[in-house]
């Protein structure tokens, strides 16, 4: 039973990683860049939710909506101001800019909201008990949210006209422009979706680990990036699978091997997977005939 409860806990943690990883992976797939500021968007979302719920005593749902709206706008603005001018620059310049944006957000948060750790209030307590197994409702909601997001996003990408345009931009932006697709608009939409998802992840994260501070996005950001690479960066099911596997490996190694070593084990698994399958678990390699 203990194993099962660690496993479910791992799936809960993995769901948060997966939601963040989706943002990394979608942006990489379409804008071909690693948005290292993605983790800090999570931090902004967490602060928004904290202020709404803890300081202004607004309903939890209002906090969620506020975080999603602010992060979505923030993501689009970051892309417009920092990345769009570098559309034709080398990928190294874009990478360094992304790291710069990351520090900018962290330092702005320190300046505006202080460096002390704020405690996020308990928004949902209680557990579902089945026999001797007890699973917190929060974990269940986290896993459920992740599954819903995954299904909706997959349908959106595969079935809608905008989704088709996103896939076209991911393959060939020049050809996409020849179809009459506004490539800049598609990139904006991608950042909006990724950042909105980051906001949802931020609330699930701080509801489980209730400390809110300016650098809170770094570690989950790096883990989610790892999950995205692990699953095959650019692939949406890959981000999902990568996140879940990462969360489970992390939680199980924390429970059975060592708390201190759990991160090292996670990265070791990543290295082994990449050695065997360099494109990640579900990374695509399509053979194109000429």
């Amino acid at each position: 039973m203990a194993f099962l409860s660690y496993l479910i806990g791992g799936l809960g943690l993995g769901s948060v990683y997966a939601i963040i990883a989706l943002g990394y992976s979608m942006v990489y797939g379409i804008a071909k860049m690693l948005n290292f500021a993605h983790g800090d968007v999570i931090m902004v979302g967490a602060f928004m939710a904290y202020f709404a719920i803890s300081k202004y005593h607004l309903p939890v749902l209002v906090g969620v909506v506020l975080a999603v709206v602010v992060c979505t706008i923030l993501g689009v603005v970051i892309e417009r101001l920092a990345y769009k001018p570098l559309r034709h620059a080398s990928s190294l310049s874009v990478l360094i800019t992304a790291i710069g944006v990351s520090y900018f957000l962290q330092n702005s948060a320190m300046l505006l909201w202080g460096t002390d750790t704020k405690i996020f209030p308990t928004v949902l307590s209680g557990s579902l008990t089945v026999g001797s197994l007890s699973v917190p409702y929060l974990t269940l909601i986290t896993i459920l949210t992740c599954i819903v997001i995954m299904i909706v996003l997959t349908l959106f990408i595969n079935r809608t006209k905008t989704g088709r345009a996103m896939r076209a931009c991911s393959e060939d932006k020049g050809a996409a422009a020849l179809m009459g697709i506004n490539v800049n608009r598609i990139i904006s939409i991608t950042f909006a979706i990724g950042s909105g998802l980051a906001a949802i992840a931020s609330i699930l994260l701080v509801a489980t680990y209730p400390s809110v501070y300016p650098t809170l996005g770094s570690m989950p950001g790096i883990k989610a990036f790892t999950a995205a690479v692990f699953g095959g960066i650019g692939s949406i099911p890959g981000a999902f699978l990568g996140g879940l596997v990462l969360g489970v490996v992390e939680n199980l190694s924390r429970a059975y091997i060592s708390t201190q070593l759990s991160d090292a084990i996670v990265f070791m698994v990543l290295i082994v997977v990449l050695l065997i399958k360099p494109t990640g678990l579900l990374g695509k390699k399509v053979n194109v005939k000429v």
Binding site: R167, G174, L178, M179, G180
Partner: protein, 234 residues
């Protein structure tokens, strides 16, 4: 229909197109021939808005294209079949065709045109659920042409449609180009295969290192001594 005046295009310091002027009239097949690196594809990209010209004007039915954002050009009636086909390899044949109609909003019309291109290219119908990357070169060329037709263009730009295809397929492709033209679509064709291009063209221009060196009807240029020596193998 399409009028290019004093067009200059630069890549950084290199001047790829040095002041060319030409026109394509309603209902014509006009071809731009020239060797590798003459600037044919650059010209095509400038017309479709993928490249910003340094100066000059490109007018489509009286509207200046150099000042139009590239994603708006398709809905003005100009489509391009790019060099190397550039189909969306991971998407199915049908998804590629629907992307061709991306700028359109008339659902019934799109369905009708889908049926029409499947009639024109029966092999695409057989393969409509297949990822485009799994098609043969000839089929991909047909898909690229069908995809461009899905925007219902007034003028179709074709960049090297014969590239990498067997002589038999090239013949087939050129027949289809003539059919598309007979259906009322004006065509600007860029080709290294000068013989085939001149045979179907109403008028032709020879592009040499970024400048137009000769112009005339397809027949005139086919008969011209210079063209025969340089492009038709003597």
């Amino acid at each position: 229909m399409l009028e290019i005046k004093d067009l200059y295009v630069r890549y950084g310091m290199i001047e790829a197109i040095k002041g060319i002027s030409f026109e394509v009239r309603d209902g014509e097949i006009v071809t731009l021939i020239g060797s590798n690196g003459a600037g044919k594809t650059t010209t095509m990209h400038a017309i479709s808005g993928l490249l910003k010209p340094a100066s000059g004007s490109i007018m489509l039915d009286g509207v200046e294209l150099t000042k139009t954002p590239n994603h708006k050009i398709v809905s003005m009636g100009l489509a391009q079949v790019p060099e190397g086909r550039r189909v969306f390899a991971q998407q199915t044949v049908e998804e590629n065709l629907l992307l061709g109609a991306y700028a359109r909003k008339d659902k019934d019309g799109i369905q009708k045109d889908l049926d029409h291109v499947y009639e024109l290219f029966p092999r695409l119908l057989e393969r409509k659920k297949q990822p485009a990357g799994t098609l043969s070169g000839g089929e991909q060329q047909m898909l690229a042409m069908a995809r461009a037709l899905m925007s219902r263009p007034k003028i179709l730009l074709m960049d090297e449609p014969s590239m990498g295809l067997s002589p038999l397929l090239v013949k087939e492709i050129f027949h289809i180009i003539q059919d598309i033209n007979k259906d009322g679509t004006t065509i600007l064709l860029v080709e290294q295969n000068a013989k085939m291009a001149l045979a179907i063209a109403d008028r032709a221009y020879v592009l040499e290192t970024g400048k137009i060196s000769l112009e005339g009807t397809g027949e005139e240029l086919s008969a011209s001594e210079e063209v025969r020596k340089a492009y038709l193998g003597g």
